[in-house]
């Protein structure tokens, strides 16, 4: 059996800097920050008062019927307009598809605000008063389940969880389903709405979050004075198709997902390892059949924690050798914050837009070079340059690494 090439034909996004692909892209190239003072909960006693929230006028009733809103978590709400946008940009008509050949892979995080209601109700009222929606609403598999129900896709339906690498891992999992012949179309979704008091408090206490008071300046990847990442929320949907399927229905092909590399640090719950990150990058290159010299741009993990940025820099040097000093690298998180389980999917969309527009979004808030981060981070201003092959890095806290090679489609 010939291994199919896998291409992207549809994109949709709901992000802190825009509620669709056009707004996301124009924000990214303009260097617009989506980081603001937190409005979703009272931060009076919190040392962290900033996040990359979705605009407060986001209204799920525009996209979903009221019963579905009751029955689903915010991550599903955020994903719905992105799903609609992606399906429509791909011009994918499910009535014309073999439904068993369309699958879904999602990545999301549990929303503890709702999850904590289960044990609370049980303790207060006993087992006969359990919340009837608790099981079907709270699980991380529900995002893939709801997308499958809405589209009628009967193919593979699952979710992956590797914390901050989940979004890219979902892409890698979908790629493998398609390469192994399980599906002609895969809907990849990353959606994260875990921006809640308990996650902010937990991330803060382990020192991962930026404590800068000025939201616009708070996230400074690769800058000497960076102090941590900024929590974000948002959703992305990508429609993946086999090349032959896309061509048969004359879909517009936006990019090729040429390879994915996966590795695990086996080292520490929090500290990253450059060697294993480099392993994932090299594996992605090998699977894609490209060499370090082919890489025109790296869409970095770039969280702006002290350790991530020096380790990622080191890993890029291990994986790419001398080429590391010549390749432009930028962090979308400087503007979007870190949208944890959706970050990889949203940043894959940004990488595809970069390839299609020959324009690299900048790393904003880059002011003071760090001697340990001595590569080209495309500081502050977008850069016009042809990008045919892009490496997308995602590294999960805990050491789960996933890197993707995304190529301009030629064929």
């Amino acid at each position: 059996m010939e291994i199919p090439r896998v291409v992207v034909t549809g994109l949709g996004a709901v992000t802190p800097i825009g509620l669709n692909i056009d707004e996301l892209w124009s924000g990214l190239i303009a260097g617009k920050s989506g980081i603001r003072l937190i409005s979703r909960f009272d931060t009076t006693n919190f040392p962290i008062k900033i996040a990359a929230e979705i605009a407060s006028d986001f209204d799920p009733t525009k996209y979903m019927d009221p019963k579905m809103i009751d029955r689903t978590m915010r991550a599903v709400h955020l994903a719905m307009p992105a799903l609609k946008e992606a399906m429509s940009s791909a011009r994918l008509d499910m009535n014309k598809e073999k439904k068993e050949r369309v699958g879904v892979v999602s990545s999301t995080m549990v929303e503890t605000g709702y999850l904590s209601r289960g044990p609370e109700l049980l303790a207060r009222l006993g087992p006969k008063r359990a919340d009837p929606l608790f099981i079907t609403k709270s699980g991380p598999s529900t995002l893939a389940m709801q997308i499958g129900m809405i589209t009628g896709a009967n193919g593979p339906n699952t979710y992956v969880d590797s914390l901050c690498a989940s979004g890219s891992d979902a892409m890698g999992a979908a790629l493998n389903f398609m390469r192994l012949g399980y599906a002609d179309v895969m809907i990849v979704s990353g959606s994260d709405a875990s921006l809640e008091p308990v996650t902010i408090a937990g991330m803060n206490i382990i020192g991962a979050l930026s404590r800068e008071p000025d939201p616009q300046k708070a996230c400074r990847p690769f800058d000497l004075n960076r102090s941590g990442f900024v929590y974000g929320e948002g959703a992305a949907i990508l429609i993946l198709e086999s090349e032959s399927h896309a061509k048969k229905r004359r879909a517009k092909i936006l990019a090729e997902i040429a390879g994915a590399g996966h590795s695990f640090d086996a080292y520490s719950e929090t500290a990253p390892s450059a060697e294993t990150q480099a392993l994932a990058m090299s594996m992605a290159l090998k699977v894609a059949g490209v060499s370090p010299d082919d890489i025109d741009y790296i869409n970095a993990h770039g969280t702006a924690t002290r350790l991530n940025d020096t380790t990622e820099t080191k890993a890029i040097k291990i994986a790419l050798g001398e080429k590391a000093y010549k390749v432009p690298i930028s962090s979308n998180k400087s503007m979007l914050g870190h949208i944890i389980s959706a970050a990889g999917a949203i940043e894959t969309i940004a990488s595809i837009m970069t390839i299609n527009h020959s324009l690299i979004p900048p790393t904003i808030n880059y002011e003071t070079p760090d001697p340990e981060c001595d590569l080209d981070y495309v500081p502050n201003v977008a850069r016009k340059t042809e990008v045919k092959t892009c490496l997308k890095n995602s590294f999960g806290m805990g050491g789960q690494n996933c890197c993707l090679v995304i190529k301009k489609f030629e064929g």
């Binding site: 019927d65 019963k67 009751d70 006969k128 008063r129 009837p132 079907t136």
Partner: protein, 79 residues
């Protein structure tokens, strides 16, 4: 006083139907209420009226009127 209005409010809130379409003859099927809706309605009725609705009783409900009659009877028994 009949519990009808409160039962109506609970059903409307959960199945998101128009209050005016609810008649004693309305069935759960007509209201597009699936098993998850029905369980939510039962739990809400139990909470709201401080009654217990055993599963075998709930299975006998055929329409909205049955639910109201049942709740009225349970509330009266409690008194």
């Amino acid at each position: 006083m009949s519990a009808e209005e409160s039962v109506k409010d609970i059903v409307v809130k959960i199945v998101h139907c128009d209050k005016n379409v609810l008649t004693p003859e309305s069935t759960f099927k007509e209201l597009n209420a699936d098993s998850l809706d029905i369980v939510q309605i039962l739990v809400a009725l139990e909470d709201n009226f401080g009654i217990e609705i055993p599963e075998e009783d709930a299975q006998k409900f055929t329409n909205f009127g049955d639910v109201v009659t049942y709740v009225d009877r349970k509330v009266a028994e409690k008194k």
